[in-house]
Symmetry: C2
Subunit: 162 residues, 2 copies
Amino acid sequence: METFFRYNWQVREEWYRWCEDVPGEELLRVRTGGIGGILHTLFHIVDVEWSWIQVLQGKQDFQESFDGYNSLEKVRKLDADFRQDVKTFVQAWDSSMETRPFYDPKPDGTVYIDAWGEVMRHTIAHQIHHIGQLSIWSREIGKQPVSPNLIGRGLIKPLVAK
Amino acid sequence: METFFRYNWQVREEWYRWCEDVPGEELLRVRTGGIGGILHTLFHIVDVEWSWIQVLQGKQDFQESFDGYNSLEKVRKLDADFRQDVKTFVQAWDSSMETRPFYDPKPDGTVYIDAWGEVMRHTIAHQIHHIGQLSIWSREIGKQPVSPNLIGRGLIKPLVAK
C-alpha cells in the first residue's frame, strides 16, 4: 500500500516543480473535463487524499474550497500541512485493516459500507486518474508532462543475489 | 494486488461499452497528448498489461502495432485473448515475488533492475493514468466518461459484525 502512496507523493512533487515554469493564468485556466484546471486538480488531489484518511479515523474531512488556495504556494503549503497525517496512517497500515468496514451514510438514509482496503485503493487511483488528465492539459499548452512511470523510481529494492 | 487488476478490468469493460455509442471516427481521431486517440489508448493498455506479465515470465512481449487492431471489436478480442494469461499470473501472486529482480537490458548495455512488485504496480498505474486521459477526451466530445471510482464496486467484501 505504502509503495503507491510514495509514488503519488513523488509524482505530486514533480508536478509542483513543473508548475513553477508555467504562467499562473495557465495554472488557473478553466479547462474541459476533470476538475477543470491544473492547479485546481492538484488542490483536489491533496484534499481528497487527506479527507479519506480523516474520515476513516472518524475525523472531519476538508471543507474548504479552491478559492482560498488558488496559488502554487498555497497548494504546496496545504499539502505539506496534511502530509504527516497521511504518512502516519499509511505507515501504520496492516493487512487486518483491509476488510474493516467504513460506514458512509448518505442524505437519503442509505448507508454504504466500503472496506478500508477499497477506500485506500480508491484514494491511490484517484490521484493517478487526475494526473492522467494533467498530462493532456500539459500537451495542450505545449509542455512535456511529468513522467508517470512507476518503475525506475527505486520504490522497492529488488533482492539481488550477490 | 489482484484488487487493482480487477478494478482495471471492470473499468476497461465499461469503456468498451462506452465506445459502442461513439462513432468510429471519434474513436480513431488523433488527439493531443497521451497515446493520441481513444481506441489506440485502450489497445495500448491491453498491450502493455500483457507484455509486462509476459516479460516477467521471460516470454516475448507483444510486438504488433495498432494498425492491425483499429476497431472496437478487434481490441476487445485481443483483450479477451490475453486476459487469461494475465489473470493466471495475478492470481498466483504472492508477497515473496515483491522483491524478485527483473533484469531489463537496454541497447546501450546498461541493465536496469526493477523489483517485480514495481513492475506490477507500474502496470496498474499505467492503465489508470491513461484512463484519466480518456476522461478528458470524453468530455471534449460531449459525452460523460465512465466512473473511475474504485469504491462502490464490491471489490473487497467488508467484514461486518453480525
